[in-house]
Each structure stands twice: as structure tokens, then as C-alpha cells.
């Protein structure tokens, strides 16, 4: 029975992990987009996307936890599985003695302080802390920024041998995000190699929240002090380090339902997973009070931090409002986007033209790593709505193709004195060529030369013009972000009489 639980957990977690991984590293689109729907089953995306179907998933995850404990943390969370994989691999290189874990005291102060900070700052309008700490988003960033380049590099190496594999440029590389992901990866997996799920039980806000809920779950692990031989087999295998044999207590807030203990128990009956509602709380009442007090402390701290972030934000925002902080079509504008995006980079990984890349300071300090459109190496495909179909957070709300082609994310600006036609007195028209809505037209300038003329009401800000403009050092046409996305004027048919001819004309 208990072996079965552990095995199911391992199989399910690996399946989810691999499917999620595919969403982030399938740069060759071999799997298509069939697995993208899975992203919504993550806790933070479900929470942020609760306006469009996420609420049901969120409810499911909460009920699941209230029934069975932190199953989410051991099965659904990709960062959790990632830690397990690293720990298991690390164990191969450790002596048997070193593999053993032991009970450790909880870090409730840290946990609930962080949780409180995240909740309060989020309620006050900043998702920065959530972005930094959300386990799913961290997993996404690690997969996209650390594994993604490796996949492309391998593919490109193979493309030298097999010409049917297309060579791919990696345009989305952003050093700051790579470093951030690397630091998180080393910290989280390092902790897990040494101390099991220490990250989940002391830092992760989702872990802390679900931990609080699982104190009240119907099914939970119980110790039987009568049959227990105190052999410590369960403790040595407990990733949560939450079994206190001395006091015959289990800290349910830290138990991630991995079921290592139940299958390790030599008496086969001393630690059981069973219906335990209404039974005496294994943690003394005192702790709850402490928890409450700390939550309150956290809340106060959160308000302070959120206030500080807000107070410091305006200059950054001001600098970004007139600039290159172009948010993806479907994100409605800077405010909605910043409120919902946790920078999981599913859209960055999925963008067929690689125009989306993690931001550095384009959005300001509180928008670090959020996807931004960069027209230096690519531009946004006219009829493409891929990012809006991928985003699980509702940061990029789904757009139909008809809506997408009218969504004005920014507007082009033309600087006549930089234009090739003016400077070199030769034809160019590269921008006019690329404009999908003909917001640019070539009009007569002088001596048979034509220059671009811009109608910004038609412009959707796709960046085709900016991307191709050959003027250097500064491009003559550049897109400025719309802080609030607008509706572009629909393209009018330019009626033309159908001409019937009967001759070649020469």
C-alpha cells in the first residue's frame, strides 16, 4: 500500500515534470503546443489567472491540499521534482551515512515572514516578490535560460551533421536572467542535495501557504508510539526533516507527502497515512499562536516593503513609459502586465520569432526579467498570437488573430534626418516593405526619391520597420511603447478597378 503511494508519487511527478519541461525547451516545436494547458495547473498561475478558468483549478488545488496534504509540492510542482532529481543524483556520490537526513527544527519565522511579505506586497499591487520566489516561475526560468541554450546548441551541432535539422540563432539570451536562474538553481538544488526540501519548507511562499492548509487536511501521516521501534528509518528518509521521533510528532506544515517514511517503516505499521480529522493536533497549540503572531509580523513587514517598492518605483516607471518597454500583445498595458506576470518565460520559450526576451531594466526594477519585445533582432509576427495562447497567468490574455492584428502595443516614430533616403539620397523603403498594415507609405520627397510617411493610427507597433531599418548608428524608425494598449484603426480596403487586358503592352 505505502510502496504503492510512493511509487505513484514518483511516476506522476516525473510525468508532470517532463511534460512541463517540454513546454520550455521544445524550441524545435516537435511537440507542438499540446502541453501548454498544463501550465495552468500550477498554483501561482491558477491564482493569477483566476479570472479566466484559473479559479476552478485554484479551488481544486486548495481542496486537494485540505483533503490529502501537500500533494502539490511533491507531484505537481516542477521545482520540487527538480530538487528530488538532484538530491537522488547527489546521493549516488555520497556515502550511505551522508545520505541520511535527521529531524530539524522548523524555520517558521522565516517562512511566514516571507509568505506575509509576498501576500501583502501582492495585495498592495507589486508582484515582484512573487516573481522572485514562485517555484513554477523559477523552474520556467531555469529551463528556458539554462537548458534552452543547451538544447539549441546541441541542435545546431547536430545540424552540421544532419542538414535536415534547421540551424537556430539564440536571440533571447539575457545575461542577467541567466545569472539569476543559475544562482537560484545552485541555491535550491544545493539545499536539496544537503538538506532535502529545505527550500520548500523555509523560503517557498507556495510551500508555506499549502503547509498552513495541510495542518487541517483530512488525511495525514500519524505515528503510532506503541508499535514504533524508534529505528529512525523514516526519519533518515524524510525530505521534509519533519518527523520528531523524540516527541512522536510530525510537523504537517512541512510534510510534502513524499511517502518515503511510510515505505521505509520497518514495522510497516508505525507510521500511517490515514483519515485523521479531529484528532489531537500533533503540534502543540502554542506553535499556532506563534504562527499567527509571525504572520501578523510578516504582514506589517510586507506593507513596509511594498510601500518602499512603490515609493521607489515611479522614477523607473517614468523612464520606461516613454521608451522601449513594449509589452506583449494581449497584456493590455504595463500595469495589467506587471500585476500578473511572474516571468515564468513560457511565452519567451514559445515565441516563434524570438522577439520576446527577459527584460533587464526596461520595465523598471519591479519588472526585472518580465518578457519585453526587442526589435533589434526580430519583430512581432503580424498574425501570430502564440504568446497569448501560452500565458497561464493571464498576464497575456488570449487574443484571437482578428483581435491581435488590431492591438496597438506601441507606435512607430520616424526621424527624417536619420533616414537613408535623406542622408544618402538613394532609394530604400525597407520599413515600408515590412509594414503589414501599410501605416508606412512611400511618398515623393525630391528628385524622384520617395520617403516613408507614417500614419500612426494604423500602426500596431509590431516593430517590422524598426527591425529592418538599415540606418546606423541610430535607426530612423523606432517603436515607442503604449503604456496602455490601444485599438489600431482597421485597415481599409483600397479599392481598385479590376483591369481586363488583351495585350502584353510591349
Amino acid at each position: 500500500m505505502y510502496n504503492f503511494l510512493k511509487k505513484s508519487r514518483i511516476i506522476l511527478s516525473l510525468v508532470f515534470f517532463l511534460l512541463l519541461l517540454i513546454c520550455f525547451i521544445d524550441t524545435y516545436r516537435l511537440a507542438g503546443q499540446w502541453s501548454d494547458g498544463l501550465l495552468q495547473w500550477q498554483f501561482v498561475p491558477a491564482l493569477l489567472g483566476s479570472a479566466t478558468g484559473g479559479a476552478i483549478i485554484l479551488l481544486f488545488l486548495v481542496v486537494l491540499t485540505l483533503l490529502f496534504g501537500r500533494i502539490y509540492c511533491s507531484t505537481l510542482c516542477p521545482l520540487g521534482t527538480c530538487q528530488d532529481i538532484v538530491r537522488r543524483t547527489a546521493n549516488l556520490f555520497k556515502s550511505k551515512k551522508k545520505r541520511k537526513l535527521k529531524y530539524s527544527k522548523p524555520h517558521h519565522l522565516v517562512r511566514y515572514l516571507i509568505l506575509g511579505l509576498v501576500i501583502i506586497s501582492f495585495v498592495l499591487g507589486s508582484s515582484t516578490l512573487l516573481l522572485i520566489l514562485d517555484p513554477y516561475s523559477n523552474f520556467g526560468r531555469m529551463a528556458t535560460s539554462l537548458l534552452g541554450p543547451a538544447v539549441i546548441w546541441s541542435g545546431n551541432t547536430l545540424s552540421d551533421i544532419f542538414p535536415s535539422i534547421p540551424f537556430q540563432d539564440y536571440k533571447i539570451f539575457t545575461l542577467s536572467t541567466c545569472l539569476f536562474a543559475a544562482v537560484v538553481f545552485i541555491t535550491v538544488t544545493g539545499l536539496s542535495a544537503l538538506r532535502g526540501r529545505l527550500y520548500c519548507n523555509s523560503i517557498c511562499p507556495v510551500g508555506s501557504l499549502l503547509g498552513l492548509l495541510s495542518k487541517y487536511s483530512l488525511f495525514r501521516l500519524t505515528l503510532n508510539s506503541d508499535t514504533c521501534a524508534r529505528c529512525m528509518a523514516c526519519v533518515k528518509d524524510c525530505k521534509g526533516q519533519c518527523i520528531d521521533i523524540k516527541r512522536m510528532e510530525i510537523d504537517h506544515t512541512r510534510c510534502v507527502q513524499c511517502h518515503n517514511c511510510t515505505s521505509a517503516c520497518r514495522t510497516k505499521q508505525s507510521i500511517r497515512y490515514q483519515f485523521a480529522y479531529g484528532e489531537k493536533k500533533t503540534t502543540p497549540q502554542k506553535t499556532t499562536d506563534v504562527t499567527r503572531r509571525r504572520l501578523f509580523l510578516g504582514a506589517i513587514g510586507g506593507i513596509a516593503v511594498a510601500g518602499t517598492v512603490r515609493a521607489f518605483t515611479p522614477p523607473w516607471r517614468a523612464s520606461s513609459s516613454h521608451s522601449k518597454a513594449i509589452t506583449p500583445p494581449g497584456s493590455r498595458g504595463l500595469d495589467h502586465f506587471k500585476r500578473h506576470c511572474t516571468a515564468c518565460h513560457a511565452c519567451v520559450a514559445g515565441c516563434p520569432s524570438q522577439v520576446l526576451r527577459p527584460a533587464v531594466t526596461e520595465y523598471g526594477l519591479d519588472g526585472f526579467m518580465m518578457p519585453v519585445l526587442d526589435y533589434n533582432k526580430s519583430f512581432c509576427n503580424y498574425e501570430c498570437n502564440t504568446c497569448s495562447t501560452i500565458c497561464p497567468n493571464d498576464a497575456i490574455i488570449h487574443l484571437t488573430k482578428e483581435e491581435k492584428i488590431l492591438t496597438q502595443i506601441g507606435r512607430a516614430n520616424f526621424m527624417l534626418d536619420r533616414c537613408i533616403v535623406v542622408r544618402e539620397e538613394t532609394d530604400c523603403g525597407a520599413c515600408d516593405e515590412h509594414c503589414p498594415v501599410k501605416a508606412i507609405r512611400m511618398v515623393h520627397f525630391r528628385d524622384g526619391l520617395y520617403i516613408p510617411q507614417l500614419d500612426t493610427s494604423l500602426c500596431i507597433g509590431c516593430g517590422g520597420c524598426e527591425y529592418i531599418c538599415p540606418a546606423r548608428p541610430d535607426k530612423a524608425i523606432q517603436v515607442t511603447a503604449n503604456a496602455e494598449h490601444r485599438q489600431a484603426r482597421p485597415v481599409e480596403e483600397e479599392a481598385q478597378e479590376k483591369v481586363e487586358i488583351d495585350d502584353f503592352g510591349f
Binding site: 516563434p352 532609394d427 498594415v437 529592418i468 538599415p470 480596403e493 483600397e494
Partner: protein
């Protein structure tokens, strides 16, 4: 990377050196040696494949241009993420007809590519050309990354004296230039000479360094064995990408010639029946004439006009 490229170049150079005599005998000569009864063919009033068949027959048949075992490149315009009705790309039915004919003549392989402006996967797919090529037995080549291009010098060029050109063109025994007839905001017209731009990697350089002269220079990279202009559907306004079906006229015509300047001149005259476009304003064609890449004097040529 550098070393590998050096080895590749050295190897290819060696092969080219040993084969050069043979290929020149095979590919450059036959055009003159054939029983082509004219210099330029214009066909009107049929479906793309039928018009192609008539035109190639008038120029001595495909076997005058493609010999057994040769490597052929068919280079259509696939620049834009548009379906065939918009006339932004070459008609896929015409591309398919050419490929089948080349294979029938014994071509070892027929490769198709374009350095697209829009996302290459979307262009290849939505133009209908990828599917048509596969069905006809040809092969699509990648052209979306610099690694598929090689630096070449262009003797006789004025501005574009050296550039990176797609490897398929450089390695081909025969290459057939298959543009679609379009108006063009920057270059005024996009026909055979302009279509040649799709074999070059760095298009921004061309735009920044006298576009019209660079397009003419580009025609000196490697002379197309044949130029076939698709004028089944033509784009008369808002080119080269177009935005709606009202930009399109459907004259159902096709032109074929070995002279890239002459065919562009003829196509512009044809285009003038729909929209005014004096030849003198289309800089690259007149420059092409001045540089003796071909002739703008169509009256001096033997032209065969066929109506179906």
C-alpha cells in the same frame, strides 16, 4: 568555426576546380546551342503549369537548360507570410511545374529556398510553396541563418562588391529565377532582378548603400540559367507585401527569358497596363541595361507572344 570553414572552402574549391571544366561545358554553353526560336516568350490566358509548358517549349524545352545529373535551384519569391491569392509570393503551381520538368530532364535534385522577410517557417508554409515543392519531388533548403551563406566577391559590381550568398546558388549547376510581378515601395518594382536579392544574407547593407545599384550588382553574382516571371496574379499597389486582395489583379500571364534585364523591362511594360510605372523610375533595371547585364531594348529582341 574559422578553421572548419577554411577546410570546407578548401574542399569545395578543390572539387569545383576539378569539375569546373565539365560544368561550364554543361551549363553555360547549351543555352546558345539550343534551337530556341526566340529571346523572350510571353504567354497569356492559361493556368500557370500550362503557360509554363508553352513558354519552355518555345525556348527549346527544359533539356536545353537542365542536363542529366545536374543540381538545380529554383528560386521563387517566398518573402512574405501570405497565402497565394495575395500575389506576394510566387505561384506554387508554377514552382511545382518547373520542378517536375527539371526532374523529368534528369536533374539530380531540385532545391528551393528564399531568404524570407517574415518568419521563414510561416512563409514557407503559408505561401503554399513548401507543400508544392515536396509534392513535386523538390527539396526546401533553409535560408534563415547566416551559416547557410558564403562570402563571394562580385566582379564588375559597383557598390555590392562582395557579399554573403546562399550556398545552394553557389553550388548549383543550374539556377532558375522565378519571381512574381509586384509593385515595390522601395525599389519601385519587384521582378527578376529584385528577386535576386533573396539569395543575399545582408539585405540591410543593400538598402543602406544605394539600393538600386546594389540590386543591379546582385545580378552579377551568378547569372540565372532562366528567368521565369509569374504574372498569373500580380500586385499592383501596396507592394511588396500587400495588405488586401484589392491590391491584386489577375492577368494570367507568364514571361520567360535568359536575359534578366530584358524580362524585367518587358514585365514593367506589361505592368503599365494596370498602373503607371515609367521604366526610367525603376533604377535597377536601367542601371542593369547601362552595365550591360542585359538589354532594355526589347524591340531588338526576338519576342514570341502566345495566347492560350
Amino acid at each position: 568555426m574559422e578553421r572548419r570553414n577554411f577546410f570546407k572552402t578548401a574542399l569545395l574549391g578543390g572539387i569545383a576546380g576539378t569539375l569546373s571544366l565539365k560544368t561550364s561545358v554543361l551549363s553555360a554553353r547549351p543555352a546558345e546551342a539550343t534551337a530556341a526560336s526566340c529571346d523572350l516568350v510571353a504567354v497569356m490566358g492559361g493556368e500557370p503549369a500550362a503557360m509554363y509548358a508553352k513558354a519552355i517549349e518555345a525556348l527549346g524545352g527544359i533539356s536545353s537548360y537542365v542536363k542529366k545529373g545536374q543540381r538545380v535551384v529554383v528560386k521563387p519569391n517566398i518573402g512574405w507570410d501570405k497565402t497565394p491569392e495575395y500575389a506576394a509570393n510566387t505561384n506554387p503551381a508554377l514552382v511545382a511545374a518547373i520542378i517536375k520538368d527539371c526532374l523529368k530532364a534528369g536533374a539530380r535534385e531540385v532545391v528551393v529556398f528564399d531568404h524570407t522577410c517574415d518568419d521563414w517557417k510561416a512563409c514557407y508554409k503559408n505561401s503554399g510553396i513548401e507543400d508544392a515543392v515536396k509534392e513535386a519531388g523538390g527539396k526546401m533548403a533553409f535560408a534563415h541563418e547566416e551559416k547557410y551563406y558564403r562570402e563571394v566577391r562580385i566582379p564588375g559590381a559597383k557598390r555590392l562588391t562582395s557579399t554573403q550568398v546562399h550556398e545552394a546558388i553557389l553550388d548549383a549547376d543550374v539556377w532558375i529565377n522565378v519571381p512574381v510581378l509586384k509593385n515595390h515601395g522601395g525599389a519601385k518594382m519587384s521582378i527578376a532582378m529584385k528577386n535576386n536579392m533573396g539569395v543575399v544574407w545582408d539585405r540591410r547593407f543593400m538598402h543602406a548603400n544605394d539600393l538600386q545599384q546594389c540590386i543591379a550588382d546582385c545580378a552579377l553574382v551568378k547569372k540565372p540559367t532562366l528567368n521565369i516571371v509569374d504574372a498569373y496574379r500580380i500586385m499592383t499597389q501596396n507592394g511588396p507585401k500587400g495588405r488586401s486582395l484589392s491590391d491584386v489583379q489577375t492577368p494570367k500571364a507568364l514571361f520567360m527569358s535568359t536575359d534578366i534585364v530584358a524580362i524585367d523591362t518587358a514585365a514593367v511594360s506589361f505592368f503599365n497596363q494596370f498602373k503607371k510605372m515609367p521604366l526610367a523610375t525603376v533604377g535597377h533595371i536601367t542601371i542593369g541595361g547601362d552595365m550591360k547585364i542585359g538589354t532594355t531594348d526589347i524591340d531588338a529582341l526576338k519576342v514570341q507572344r502566345i495566347k492560350l
